[in-house]
């Protein structure tokens, strides 16, 4: 075991340190710096990767359910839209703002924003329907911009900057991990063609010849959404890194 010993100072050093501590304190009393952000009137500058309110773009959604699979808090439910497709709904009562859903979304339909101060009157209201996720929520704001503090590393001086912050981040659609669905146990295949029916991008094809079904996954077309993997009755498909 390593023991940490107190540093040995003689009385001169000790006095010097006391004086230096007291004089620094006195200096700060007279000419103070300030790092407090007066929140409702000011706001800290959020980084672009801030994990806040999540927006949804239905046109980019491919209904792959990835967001709902990955959600560790089970906050995302897929709800059937009148068009027959499934879109996510988000329960902010459960959401832990990990943004795994935003990261996994293969089409970039879910977008992060810097909005972090949405208030609800009750728990039911926190269940956000798909339609409510398209537009950012209405928030009454007192602040007019952000405040940012930059500490100089050399002399520890503090610079206070102000500016106008855009709460909605324009991010390039996230690429995510390029995945592709492949068959791991071809012997177990039933040849049922459910995968072909599920595939939205038309990557899976089956061709019936006499005495044979030829199954084919077009790797270039596959978006890696995993719908076929989920639906396969024999569970013989897996997602692989491209």
């Amino acid at each position: 075991m390593k023991k940490v010993a107190t540093p040995e100072y003689d009385i001169k050093d000790k006095l010097k340190h006391h004086v230096s501590a007291l004089s620094t304190a006195a200096k700060e009393v007279v000419m103070p710096l300030n790092v407090t952000t007066q929140y409702p009137r000011e706001r800290r500058k959020m980084p672009d990767c801030f994990r806040g309110y999540i927006l949804f773009d239905p046109e980019r959604c491919i209904s792959c359910f990835q967001c709902s699979f990955v959600c560790p808090a089970n906050a995302i439910w897929m709800k059937e839209a009148p068009s027959g497709r499934y879109y996510p709904t988000l329960d902010y009562g459960k959401c832990i703002f990990c943004h795994f859903c935003v990261d996994t979304c293969p089409g970039g339909a879910l977008k992060q924003t810097k909005i972090h101060d949405v208030a609800y009157k009750d728990m039911d209201e926190m269940f956000t329907l798909t339609e409510e996720m398209i537009e950012p929520p209405e928030i009454i704001r007192e602040d007019e911009g952000y405040v940012d503090y930059v500490i100089d590393k050399e002399d520890l001086s503090l610079k206070r900057t102000k500016g106008i912050d855009k709460l909605i981040v324009d991010v390039a659609p996230s690429q995510g991990v390029p995945l592709v669905s492949l068959c791991v146990e071809p012997e177990n295949c039933l040849g049922c063609g459910i995968c072909e029916g599920m595939c939205e991008s038309g990557a899976v094809s089956s061709l019936k010849e006499d005495g044979m079904v030829r199954m084919k996954i077009d790797v270039d077309k596959c978006t890696g959404c995993g719908l076929c993997v989920k639906e396969c009755p024999m569970q013989i498909l897996r997602l692989f890194r491209e």
């Binding site: 501590a21 007291l22 620094t24 304190a25 006195a26 700060e28 009393v29 103070p32 710096l33 300030n34 790092v35 407090t36 007066q38 503090l158």
Partner: protein
């Protein structure tokens, strides 16, 4: 039979002289009843006890000192301090708001507490805290402003101050709570650690001044020969002992929030807690006033024209405030010592310093004689 005329003449012969206010006071003094009241107030001993530097000043200090402390420590730590309660005055009425809250909060006495002592001790505590004000001389050489003149003033003050921890021990015992017990034991330990150097230092100053009458003490500090210059070691030791006695931050061992959550006062709530909270600041004020009197020349300073006797009082209050501010400042500078470190400082460095200060006083006295 009290000779009323003799009493009136005693009062009238010992009036505070404020030339600026004299035109205003003269017609009032002529009035039948108000005249007597004004005369009583302007009677020097009464004036000192009630107004400056007595209860009225202390009350104002208690209201603004926590604000000063919080604001200053906030600035040191790059914060803002209290603000939201009145943003335009920078939150100066924070303590007023706090005390209002304390006033209307429920006072909870838990069932294991000793009910009688639990409520009694915070009030009894005021006796040793307030009585030393009777002997504080806020005047200057040849012009004393003191309620009671006695040759044993310093000894009485030391006795009263030594009585203070007894009430804290009582409070801790009556609370019947493990945290309050720990805090009480810490207080008891620390009590002996600071009390002995404290008494030795007072002894050194009595030796140095050759008197324990507060009037004599001020008389011996004429000009720039303040006590702090005559015996700086004693001043330092007295200051550290004061910090220890009031449990301010480097020695906030008995009341350590993070460890024993306000120590002996952990069970108090509502106005009882408010009293305990204010008590610490009262103790601070009284000890700072003694420090001002013993080491900082009392009310001596350039006379402000037109204020007469009041000028001394104002200088005394300003000096006391400076001592208080320095003491409050320590909160933002030092972290808390452990109990053993505090005890080592008390029984080690401070006792040695106090004894050296006593020796210094004896040598100085010998040279003078």
């Amino acid at each position: 039979m009290i000779d009323i005329n003799a009493l009136i003449s005693t009062i009238m012969n010992n009036q505070v002289n404020i030339p600026l206010l004299q035109p205003l006071l003269d017609p009032l003094l002529g009035m039948p009843v108000i005249g007597y009241i004004i005369a009583l107030i302007l009677w020097k001993p009464f004036f000192v006890l009630i107004l400056i530097p007595g209860f009225a000043t202390m009350g104002i200090m208690l209201l603004i000192l926590p604000w000063i402390e919080r604001k200053m420590v906030g600035r040191m730590q790059w914060r803002v301090g209290p603000r939201e309660i009145s943003p335009h005055t920078r939150g100066i009425i924070q303590l007023l708001a706090d005390s209002l809250r304390f006033l209307f909060q429920e006072v909870i006495i838990h069932k294991d507490a000793h009910k009688l002592y639990f409520l009694q001790f915070p009030f009894l505590y005021f006796i040793p805290v307030l009585l030393p004000l009777l002997f504080i001389n806020a005047g200057t050489a040849g012009n004393p402003l003191v309620p009671i003149q006695t040759d044993y003033a310093l000894q009485i003050m030391v006795a009263l101050i030594s009585l203070m921890p007894v009430f804290i021990l009582g409070v801790g015992w009556a609370s019947n709570n493990r945290f309050s017990f720990i805090g009480t034991v810490r207080e008891a330990f620390l009590y002996f650690a600071y009390e002995i150097p404290f008494i030795v230092v007072i002894l050194a100053m009595i030796v140095l001044y050759g008197t324990s009458n507060t009037v004599g003490v001020i008389d011996k500090q004429s000009g720039v020969w303040w006590g702090i210059i005559q015996n700086p070691l004693a001043a330092l030791t007295f200051f550290i002992a004061t910090v220890m006695a009031t449990a301010r931050l480097p020695f906030e061992i008995p009341e350590a929030d993070q460890e024993v959550s306000f120590g002996p006062f952990v069970e108090y709530s509502g106005i009882a807690f408010g009293l305990a909270y204010v008590m610490g600041y009262e103790k601070m004020y009284v000890l700072s006033a003694i420090m001002t009197m013993l080491f900082l020349g009392g009310g001596s300073g350039p006379v402000i024209p037109g204020l007469g006797d009041l000028s001394y009082g104002i200088w005394f209050v300003i000096k006391t405030l400076i001592v208080l501010v320095v003491m409050a400042n320590l909160r933002g500078v030092y972290p808390r010592y452990r109990l053993d470190q505090g005890l080592r400082i008390g029984w080690g460095a401070m006792l040695i310093l106090a004894l050296i200060a006593l020796g210094w006083s004896i040598v100085v006295m010998g040279v003078r004689l």
